[in-house]
Symmetry: D2
Subunit: 333 residues, 4 copies
């Protein structure tokens, strides 16, 4: 069994059905009826008026959001372990035309008002330094931690006080919401989030993510930036159809809950080995090289995560029956 | 019947089958076996060693190719009606970090060594002007004209003499090759083309185009640029599978031939109304506003193309039986 | 005698005196008392509140102004012979992060509301094309023509109606104002100009130009862009002192008047040979290769300007006595 | 007396003399005889063939050097207290089109092969991270520390082994060389430096720095980048003349020696208060708020440098007689 990444998982059958249903002649780009339905669908899901754009990657969602908030001569505060800092090959710098990422600290890749303020307060307010224009947080984080509505709201208050945009990288937003059992609105706009990269691909989608603007004024220029980035795909309806399928009923939540449940199963088995509390679908454990090798010998695949640690990610399609053997093997180490 | 654009057409069933076959757990991004098969597949198709990268849009293919050839302080010669100039919202400028497009002339959006040289010769070779680093041609052109191998080779010779890269925007490359009945190699690298945007989406694909480097040295840095642009999609195998399906047997050629045949049917009916010779799957005709209205009243949809002209595009899935009524209606005007 | 360019001329003694007076310890960058005096000095000169920034080159002034008006996904309408298009090696694209220049026509490098509208009206208002955000005109133009207040106001009205910024490249603004005998305000903000590159270097300065914002809201972000471009020089007082010296009394106008007078002298001698009416300090004449050679044989240096034409530029320090021999030689051709 | 910054100091008389001597008509931009003399002058000074370009600011020199070494999708290792990271408002990101700065540690803002390797080794060599292309060190550092030839060579060896460019920010290069009493070549190209920002402005110049390429292949494209940045000033001879004046005889070294001597005087007085060893012209001392206030009450001006610290910078024109009173006051605290 492979526990490398939810990126590696297959695509949910509902995605294929939805794309097949969209397989008719319609207007190119985003003029089709599926694309046009997104604003309403996500406005309903978030209980407020939003603008929703499809994009084919989370990196695109993140970077279009950041470019909407931060000029080239500005900066963005994020965690030093953030995906936008470490895993996007400078895409934020590309899309923002060179804005700087200011790196803050926090356990489990979670920022706090204190760690953010430490960075903000270290900035001189003169023209010799780029000035912060936005904060970016990841929910669930790169270490599978979840920000609660109250935690986001505390950061949202800071952002508002400092006149900064607040972006949420929600590559695993579904896992976070499933974990929190809250309304999606509670952990986003009600807590001060300006724009959300709402991830579906890790959660069973194929190649469509949603970029959600709660500050709807940011959307218009983004339409130009999306086109200019080559991200306005010719036949957008196949992306829009994916998003509509995932948000039909609670499919997106059901899939995330399943993955979270699997992670909880591993967490229970791992006990003291856990590096971080398990709140979503990622499990980081302490294992020696020999222990890691013994797990692999049993057929379990995963990434080493620095010396003495391993990362195990549960995907939407992995059943408890698939996961139990790994849990047992960990417990038996 | 709608003759707006081949962009609006549905997707060929083989694409769905291929994506379903790829719907298994595999490595993320482009580490999967489908993505890894692309170099070999396209090397075979082009009878030489190439590097082949999937990208989700033709704009991305074009602009990654141009960025590989031209530094930010350089310029690219293209036709003044080129897609990269008029229809990509400045994406070439975004990807190249501000290189300039130098606009040349030519009937039917076709450049010639003469019109290209006119632009090159008007450039002062000092630091006050950006220096040309590449030529970009479109085959088939924006007006449905086709460059022959000899015509491309004449431009290729010029490019070589001037030490310029030669990019071919092949959004409708299949239609060009189907029209020319030549080997794909003849109209590309054998004629001096350095990089090709090989389009599949207009020809029945969903969201995968191939960026082909005949100058294979250009590929390595492009892998970073693709990631940095947010274009390295998480589950790349669904794109790679599309390209493999389209190039299995002669599917790509068969579909293009069908579209070209439909266009020829319209061309025969249009006679003197033709604005450009019909060589691929686009037909531009002279019609008065009243005539255009009468065609629309019969249920035919298409774009006006400036005053007194209309553009009719045939898609891969339109049968002669679908097209005959329009041909008759045009003949009867 | 050399008539190549006013760029080649020496520096007026008042500049040296002013720099020597500023040669004391003061605050670095632009915190010194000379730099701080610029807003007031130029506000007085323009009879309205302006923000005035020193920069060391006209290209910097032009491009900071354009970047203040136009986002990366926008475009700027300028004449196809404009300095920003032909002589700045893509600096506008660099500073704006890839905005496009849309090229319009007009005799003597002068735009008109009609030629600008032709370009604007050819733009599709969809996301596939960059949208115009600004117009840039040059006064005096690259061919030594001058826009009158009424002519600028007609363009200003168009800019306002279309919600576009209006930039004036005033590399030879002094020559234009000297020619028009109007208030500087009349041909700038009263006529709708948003920002002015006010040139001093060609007019006897050393390395200081003024970037004037009539729309003062544009200045704040520009302070960051200037620093980010490496244009906030360490010891700015030596630039500020130059600007103050040039605008002390009417020095800038006196020097420009002298150059214009010299050009008028040549114009009178050239008669039918003139390519453009002579309104500032540049004279374009029709001369055969043999005639050009004969002038050079007499010791007069100048640039050929395409086949059969020559450009003669008069500098601030050239006396009528210096120019008379050339006038006589032209008349004698 | 003001000890804020060597940026605030006046300009040496030889600069004025040299600019006055250059105040004749000559070719514009960098075609004049002063600009053309720079390659030879600096090649002599460095005992090897170099390419030398004038630029009006240290930020421009730094960023043109970095852009010559690092593509937009690359990264540059520098100290976390480096000027390019903290004091240039994102200019490196602007000139490189978004390359990332990777921050390394080291006492006194000095990098070591170990601290650089720690950063390099933490980089994954896949397309998800920007790959290092250059190292940038500052000599003398932001804290007035000096790299010896051996220390630079150790970093140069690492750079060579890793195929990285090595840039030296020499805003206070003169102070470093004066301190080291070595040949300029020893601490630059002989130690593996690829490009040097050779600062003159802090050392008595007005607005000219030299960008020196030891890897002369990097110079050609930089000429375009300099123009494109608006940095090719119209009347470049006034900048070139400054550089020639400063490197005539040992003027640049004499001025730096004087400043260093002054700093040594303060260092001796400060004793245990020193935060960093004093090796150039900057002195960082521990002082309480009350002590700092008492120094200011005596007429000494300087910057606080974080809580409990103060920075004192000695300029080229400050005599021991000027500095003694401050030394006495510090000793008396």
């Amino acid at each position: 069994m492979r526990f490398f990444s939810d990126n590696a998982a297959p695509v949910h059958p509902a995605i294929f059905t939805a794309m097949a249903d969209a397989n008719v002649l319609d207007t190119a780009y985003d003029g089709d009826r599926w694309s046009k339905a997104l604003d309403a669908r996500f406005s309903e899901l978030f209980e407020t008026e939003v603008r929703a754009l499809w994009v084919p990657s989370g990196t695109a969602a993140n970077c279009l959001a950041l470019a909407a908030m931060c000029p080239p001569h500005g900066s963005i505060v994020c965690h030093r372990d953030a995906h936008i800092q470490n895993d996007e090959c400078g895409a934020p710098e590309f899309y923002t035309h060179g804005a700087k990422l200011f790196l803050a600290d926090g356990d489990g890749a979670k920022l706090t008002p204190q760690t953010i303020s430490a960075v903000l307060d270290a900035t001189r307010y003169d023209v010799h330094q780029t000035q912060p224009h936005a904060i970016s947080i990841t929910n669930a984080t790169e270490y599978g931690r979840v920000y609660s509505p109250a935690e986001v709201a505390a950061i949202g208050d800071l952002a508002k006080a400092r006149k900064l945009g607040l972006h949420m990288d929600g590559a695993r937003f579904a896992n976070a919401v499933a974990s929190l059992e809250c309304a999606p609105a509670d952990v986003t706009w009600r807590a001060g989030v300006t724009a959300l990269s709402f991830g579906f691909i890790k959660n069973g989608g194929m190649n469509a993510e949603a970029l959600i603007f709660f500050d709807t004024d940011l959307a218009d220029a983004t339409l130009y930036r999306r086109k200019r980035a080559g991200m306005l795909l010719c036949k957008g309806r196949y992306l829009a159809a994916q998003l509509l399928a995932m948000t039909e009923g609670d499919l997106w939540l059901d899939l995330a809950r399943n993955a979270n449940t699997g992670a909880a199963l591993l967490a229970a088995a791992a006990g003291d080995r856990l590096v971080h509390p398990v709140e979503a679908n990622e499990v980081f454990i302490r294992v020696s090289a020999a222990e890691a090798a013994s797990l692999r010998a049993l057929g379990f695949d995963f990434y080493d995560w620095g010396p003495g640690e391993a990362r195990l990610v549960i995907s939407w399609n992995q059943d408890p029956a698939d996961i139990r053997p790994l849990a047992d093997a960990i417990a038996a180490l």
